[in-house]
């Protein structure tokens, strides 16, 4: 059982309500599901398909397009080490080598305690801060092997729990859209103009 839980199902319905077509909410709901479970399960896909009125095959097709939706369980912390040019020139390979040794897994693997999944990443758009890496998509700039060890220690000890939530959490602050600004679910052939468009963007 890894369908959306009761609270998240309510949230999902609220998210669906933001779009003129329910299936536009597919990707936000996949994120929601990944936040809940850390990865996307087939049960979750079937549940999302039910909620947005698509078939499970369609939701699966959308989900598998995106690298950042994980179909297999990953560690609590997803460590992505950038290996693109700037980072590579400034020691990304050595950093990866060190990470593999210190975590005891090859890139793509998950530690036995389920804490870390190590991945190689392409450019993370932080070339000025090379070598760069991310933990659950939170940047860690100008990494060294020492800083890496310290980071892993801190994560293990829970000292960074306030900064880096577990894998799947996009943001700890949810966007709140007032009901009058939501587009609302409407039949495709009767588009309802959202309030913010009707008044020329004044509200």
């Amino acid at each position: 059982m890894s369908r959306l839980n009761e609270a998240n199902t309510l949230l999902a319905k609220e998210i669906i309500g933001r779009y003129p077509k329910a299936r536009s909410a597919t990707i936000p709901l996949l994120h929601l599901s990944q936040q809940q479970n850390g990865h996307i399960t087939n049960d979750a896909i079937a549940h999302i398909a039910e909620l947005v009125g698509a078939t499970s095959a369609e939701v699966l097709g959308t989900c598998t397009f995106y690298e950042m939706f994980k179909m297999e369980p990953v560690g609590k912390y997803l460590v992505n080490i950038c290996g693109t040019m700037s980072c590579q020139l400034l020691g990304a390979d050595e950093l990866m080598h060190h990470a593999e040794h210190s975590l005891g897994v090859k890139a793509g693997g998950t530690t036995a305690d389920g804490m870390f999944t190590l991945e190689h990443a392409e450019c993370q758009a932080a070339c000025t801060e090379a070598p760069n890496m991310q933990v659950n998509y939170r940047h860690c700039h100008r990494m060294t092997t020492e800083k890496f060890d310290q980071l892993i220690d801190d994560l293990r000890a829970g000292r960074l729990d306030g900064d880096i939530p577990q894998h799947g959490t996009l943001a700890r602050v949810r966007q709140v859209i007032p009901a009058e600004k939501a587009a609302g679910v409407a039949l495709p052939d009767v588009p309802v103009e959202p309030a913010w468009m009707a008044d020329g963007g004044k509200s």
Binding site: N42, I45, A46, T55, A57, E58, L60, G61, T64, F65
Partner: protein, 792 residues
């Protein structure tokens, strides 16, 4: 040139004409037409894989790249995505075009396994053909190709070989756009894009076979045809599918006198090239080893093989005895909907003229009165282009699948608004503009209150209205539906009716004469008379009342009470097993003739294989039997019967061998049919029987065509009672448990299925499925049937 044209006043400029040149030759295309279609009209075939005329272009495969010059110099253009523009110069043969075509093919073949010698598609494969005609002839790709497990079963009928797939999006587009069952989809888009279903959710679409037909490579293959033949060994003839009354155009393919494959033919007024899986694959039943191969005559308790002479003599003797014992009125002929128009006409003449009985009927108590055919008839095209379709009939997806596709497409494109009246949710409900659920027996009230609704009234006034009328529920009399049809026709002058009769050639049979003469009995009346011992001889022409007539008890008593029974059939069905004589009839694709679909379109049927054993066409049997009874019907060939129909049956004068070729010809409504009977609907109180019974067919049932086709036989579902989840709670049972369902007649034990598509207070049971027979609960004389449901 243009100056002269402007000064000449007579020249009418077609506003839709677009002048272009294709390979330097001027051509007049239509506004909005795609370059690929315009080129085809001009005789220049542009190679393609993903483009299909009946689906949205997607520009996936890039095979149709050509050079187009719209005034800014030649540019590489995807010809399936770009409409023609004035003065466009299309070059399908330029060196650039050729280089692009070679490049695309080299790329498509890079990962293709090239296993043509063992591939079913080899010989009729667009990829093979176009690699030959447009390809570079060699590949620079020396690396390892992609590998996938091959093949995987994506449904019970269809296998997918992902190595052969070129990702053209035809099957997935068909599933989503045409069938509305988006159960296959691209997965892991990127380097490893491949087609899959969702795990444990197979591509169980009723239309899955079409994806095999439109696959431009050998990636999708259908189980019944895999490794059976090579295309160059196949002979083929155009024919019509007789599985239901939509009458889809087909091509029947055979090899060494064996039926191997049925493919859809793109008939614009009917099926647009599509077939349902039942129609595509039930040809297997024709070559079933269980077919009755020769006439059988009852000797004591057994049916023994006999010669045609002795069997015809025995049958004639039975009729003569019956005539002597009870007169012509004691003989009844049931059936005729399975065969050709020629079969039905010969049997109608035998019944009415030779035997002289008025009791002849082609329907099995599961349709609407034949008089429906006398109402102003709509065609399928008119339905698909009407502003409003009032659907007062069965679940089209289950009973008339390709009609469902046409109506679904019309509703999806926003052309047509469907107002659906149904006792439960159907395949069309989600596409309907309004779904009006009614409790069986209350159709008229539902119709009246809908007609009183302002929005509905405005919609009905907005344009042409077509009423699709059929039998939604076998457990109620047809009177309420008929009354509701009359109600909508009275409210909407000019509305036309498309009869949603289900059986293969039932409309043809009724039109050419398989219907009671004045004073004659319909099927229910015949069975009732037989049960009372008043039928001396019952002739079943491809009719199996024991499994098809809704009221099983009456069917059983009728067959037991009939003094003599003659069955003309392709199988020894449950009913035929009780006959004194079984006359072996040839089946679909074993006989030629004509077929009439529900809109009245007469098309041709081809004899593609030799009949099994000593089987004969029904019309031949009728002619032989008539001769034995002393009357020569005058038929020496099927063409004699066809021309006799044209001469004698009103509205059929235009039905000539030339006219029925291709898309066929509409036979005008037969004015001799009686108008619909006016019966008041009286629905009694429910008392302790608190669930109203709804019984209807689903696509795969135990009809011989399905049951005797090995690929389809296991697709039936279990006979079970479907209840709304809240009603399940009310009964105090659970999904999957067993309950006792009782009518005033008897009790039957069914499994329970929770089904939110069932209206509260009703119970739905699919008809003729393996398991307990729901027909035992049905009283065909009651306006509605109510049942009590108890836990056990």
């Amino acid at each position: 040139m243009s100056d002269t044209a402007e000064t000449t006043e007579e020249v009418v400029v077609d506003p839709n004409a677009v002048n272009i040149t294709i390979n330097g030759v001027p051509h007049v295309a239509r506004k909005g037409q795609l370059v690929i279609d315009a080129a085809a009209d001009a005789g220049e075939y542009i190679p393609r894989f993903c483009y299909h005329e009946r689906m949205t272009p997607v520009g996936k495969c890039r095979m149709c790249l050509v050079e187009c010059d719209s005034g800014r110099g030649p540019a590489v253009t995807v010809s399936c995505m770009v409409p023609v523009a004035p003065d466009m110069k299309v070059d399908t043969e330029s060196p650039t075009t050729k280089r692009m075509q070679e490049g695309i093919l080299e790329l498509l073949l890079a990962n293709h396994p090239l296993d043509c010698p063992v591939c079913d598609k080899g010989g009729e494969c667009p990829l093979q053909d176009q690699a030959f005609s447009h390809g570079p002839g060699e590949s620079r790709y020396v690396e390892e190709k992609r590998h996938y497990e091959k093949p995987i079963a994506i449904s019970d009928l269809v296998f997918l070989d992902r190595e052969r797939c070129i990702l053209c999006d035809r099957c997935t587009r068909f599933a989503d756009e045409v069938a509305g069952d988006a159960l296959i989809h691209f997965n892991s888009r990127g380097n490893n894009t491949h087609i899959t279903t969702f795990p444990d959710e197979p591509f169980a679409s009723y239309f899955s076979g079409n994806t095999v037909q439109i696959c431009p490579v050998g990636a999708l293959t259908a189980k019944p045809y895999r490794f059976k033949a090579r295309p160059w060994d196949l002979a083929q003839q155009e024919s019509t599918c007789t599985t239901c009354s939509v009458g889809c155009r087909t091509v029947v393919q055979t090899s060494r006198d064996e039926l191997l494959r049925v493919m859809g033919v793109d008939s614009d007024p009917v099926n647009h090239g599509w077939l349902c899986d039942r129609g595509r694959f039930d040809f297997e039943s024709v070559k079933s080893e269980h077919r009755v191969q020769q006439p059988l005559v009852r000797v004591g308790a057994d049916l023994q093989p006999a010669t045609w002479n002795s069997a015809i003599a025995a049958a004639a003797a039975l009729i003569t005895e019956a005539l002597a014992a009870g007169g012509a009125g004691s003989v009844a002929v049931l059936g005729g909907a399975r065969g050709t128009n020629e079969d039905a006409f010969a049997w109608a003449r035998l019944g009415h003229e030779v035997i002289g009985t008025p009791n002849v009927y082609a329907q099995m108590g599961d349709g609407l009165p034949a008089g429906l055919l006398a109402l102003p008839r709509a065609t399928i095209d008119q339905m698909a282009s009407a502003a409003t379709v009032v659907l007062l009939g069965p679940d089209l997806k289950e009973e008339l699948p390709v009609l469902y596709l046409r109506l679904r497409a019309a509703a999806e494109k926003g052309r047509t608004r469907v107002i659906e009246f149904a006792p439960r949710h159907t395949g069309l409900t989600s596409y309907a503009w309004k779904h009006i659920g009614y409790e069986p027996g209350t159709q008229v009230q539902a119709m009246k209150s809908a007609l009183a609704d302002e929005a509905v009234a405005a919609q009905l006034a907005a344009g042409p209205v077509v009423v699709v009328a059929g039998r939604a529920n076998l457990a109620e009399s047809s009177a309420a539906t008929v009354a509701a049809v009359r109600e909508v026709l009275a409210a909407v002058p000019g509305a036309t009716v498309l009869p949603a009769f289900r059986r293969g050639n039932v409309v043809g049979a009724l039109q050419v004469g398989m219907r009671p003469r004045p004073g004659g009995l319909d099927t229910r009346g015949t069975l009732q008379a037989a049960a009372a011992g008043k039928i001396e001889c019952l002739v079943l022409v491809g009719a199996d009342p024991l499994s098809d007539f809704p009221d099983t008890d009456l069917a059983r008593r009728g067959l037991a009470g009939a003094t003599r029974i003659i069955a003309v059939d392709t199988f020894v069905t449950e009913s035929a097993a009780r006959a004194n004589v079984v006359l072996a009839a040839s089946a679909y694709a074993e006989k030629s003739g004509t077929h009439t679909n529900l809109e009245g379109r007469v098309t041709s049927l081809a004899a593609a294989v030799t009949p099994a054993g000593n089987c004969r066409a029904d019309w031949m049997i009728a002619a032989d039997l008539a001769l034995e009874l002393g009357t020569d019907l005058g038929y020496g060939s099927v063409a004699d019967v066809t021309s006799d129909i044209a001469a004698k049956v009103a509205g059929h004068a235009g039905v000539t061998p030339d006219a029925v070729a291709g898309d066929g010809v509409l036979a005008e409504v037969n004015p001799q049919l009686d108008p619909m009977n006016q019966v008041e609907v009286q629905v009694g109180e429910r008392n302790a029987y608190e669930y109203r019974l709804v019984v209807s067919r689903v696509l795969y049932d135990q009809a011989v065509g399905t049951a005797m086709s090995p690929s389809l036989a296991h697709l039936t579902r279990a006979s079970a009672v479907h209840l709304h989840p809240l009603d399940i709670e009310r009964v105090g049972t659970t999904d999957g448990a067993r309950v006792k369902v009782s009518s005033t007649r008897t009790s039957v034990v069914f499994g329970v299925v929770a089904d939110p598509s069932v209206l509260r207070g009703t119970a739905w049971v699919p008809f003729n499925q393996p398991g307990p027979e729901v027909g035992e609960l049905i009283d065909c004389f009651a306006a509605v049937n109510d049942v009590r449901i108890e836990t056990i």
